[in-house]
Symmetry: C2
Subunit: 402 residues, 2 copies
Amino acid sequence: MTVYQATASAPVNIACIKYWGKRDTKLILPTNSSLSVTLDQDHLRSTTTSRADPSFQKDRLWLNGEEEEIKDGGRLATCIKEMKALRRELEDKDSSLPKISGYPVHICSRNNFPTAAGLASSASGFAALVASLAALYQLPTDASRLSLIARQGSGSACRSLFGGFVAWQMGEKPDGSDSYAVQVAPREHWPDIHALICVVSDDKKGTSSTSGMQRTVETSTLLQHRIKHVVPERMRAISEAILARDFDTFARITMQDSNQFHAVALDTDPPIFYMNDVSRAIIALIVEYNRVAVANGGKLKAAYTYDAGPNAVIYAPKENIKEIVELIVKYFPQADSFKDPFGLFSGKGVTGKVVDGFNEAVAKPFGVGAVKNLIHTRVGDGPRTLGAEETLLGENGLPKQT
Amino acid sequence: MTVYQATASAPVNIACIKYWGKRDTKLILPTNSSLSVTLDQDHLRSTTTSRADPSFQKDRLWLNGEEEEIKDGGRLATCIKEMKALRRELEDKDSSLPKISGYPVHICSRNNFPTAAGLASSASGFAALVASLAALYQLPTDASRLSLIARQGSGSACRSLFGGFVAWQMGEKPDGSDSYAVQVAPREHWPDIHALICVVSDDKKGTSSTSGMQRTVETSTLLQHRIKHVVPERMRAISEAILARDFDTFARITMQDSNQFHAVALDTDPPIFYMNDVSRAIIALIVEYNRVAVANGGKLKAAYTYDAGPNAVIYAPKENIKEIVELIVKYFPQADSFKDPFGLFSGKGVTGKVVDGFNEAVAKPFGVGAVKNLIHTRVGDGPRTLGAEETLLGENGLPKQT
């Protein structure tokens, strides 16, 4: 008997132009376009196995070993239903295809990064879900088409269907059919973009982005100006900067847009804060690091960006990452030694130091644990279809014990 | 021999609609109108003695016991020159008046609150300077006229020329002659408005408001929208709320405008942060305190506002201040016992507690010293001319030893 099963992995993406606000909450249609860098799956990824089997009783899903309810009309159910519909279209056109679109599916998904890392896993998770179902159903590979479906799981998931530098075009149609992701440039165009993720400890539960963004839409008197007048120009300019590999412009816009996203969150009633004193201190360090570079006749060397949480993601050309790790460790001593996936330190430890001319008074040193972890990664590729040896489901169609 | 000398005191004011941005940095003309509550001089004030004497060598000024240089063309020199010019007008019209406008002046000023309190003293300081010179020169009392001069010392000083609720009308003329303060309502109109100042410890030197606001003017892509479309409507609505003694509306607009001021500061490049984790926690407490009140069918009971620093000022009707002190002390234990100028606690200590139904998880408790001090005050009157017994200058025309 044939087993209909496929496994795929999908990457995390971190936006440079931020998505904040929906014009349609059911279809997940945004109030503005956004743009992100896809991070390397070698370091951060969601992996998902999907199997269709007529013996299954119903659609089921396990995330990190725990079964999740697939609510009728919910986001998971919507994505699965849409993927089955695409399969049915194929089956209707080609009667030689096995009729698996009618079978219940079992889906098993894992993230290789701990939830405690504070990294949004819904983008990579829904992208991996869609990618694994697309492989299972042998759908023609059109990532923009698939991104329409991933978008309905989690808005920013649509951008994880591509590697490299990815725009989510907001679209205009009420049915959302023109609100999908497109690739601005593949990773190979600008592989030199690296990222250092600073995982920041937070003792306060933040506002969820789903409820937070709608409160901003309803109450901020600045958001509409951002949407109509600021974002379109930034989308144009940062796309141009990516095509020209102009890091200086890329960095300036990335930092400005992170700040503006947090500004409209703060302009919400009641206000929403995602950054804390540690986040602010990291900004001060990067601002000073860039100031020294510019004072020495150079250009910007790093860009910070913050999503809906206190973690910093620092984008920089690879050659600057070593200095940035030294800088962060100087102010935020680490409990564990730096995992050095690119061998920047040749096996030597990080001592923690600043570049010449750096004004050390821009921030005060914090204790161990304020920044819990540093993850060095880089721009990466899009979803990957994996071999059978990577399957997360056992022969019985239930999650393998790990 | 006649001694020409006068002493005046002037109050602190804390804005509800924030001043942030100049259209003329020399004349100190703002990019938007603003509105503040004048606080009671019984608790917080600057006191200034001015003496004109032909034996003095030059204009001199002492602030809190230290001599300050009066730089040619600087703000102090401008204010003194303009006040002398008003006196000269009088002398020119009435030859019986002593010709003291040509005499050098000695000016001695003190604040009754420590600089360490983190309260901006430039507003009360320049208002007291102008008020004491107006008394010395026996100028006709027209506070709006004097506010034009105080404005050139420190923008927000113009609002400290009045008691009660005060608007600084931005004006339109290039010469600034229509950019002055007017009283929206005197303290007697709404004496029930009290204020609790939470003095927050900060280990980081903030950006000065003078340089910060101009960086916002130059780099924020949201500020112009605020100036043109948000502030005019808020000025209208909050003035109406004050005239109607509508605390609910007053509170909502006050909090929204504090948030928006900090939002445009954050939208600046590089971003400006004035609030820290303690400030954020106080916001969370007031938001929750108001939520409980509204959930019980009531209206907003308190409003926070933050100037260019981490200190919170909480406005509330007097009847709520006791609950608010209990709330703040619960999360921010105090080293010193609460100075209770209005006898709210009848000599009993503050124990620190929350109102029924309050979700204590909205903030974590901090250690002693995170909020260094609590100052309870209320809406107050405008500058006062004081008696000779209050003089700060000795017979020799130099500061008295204190």
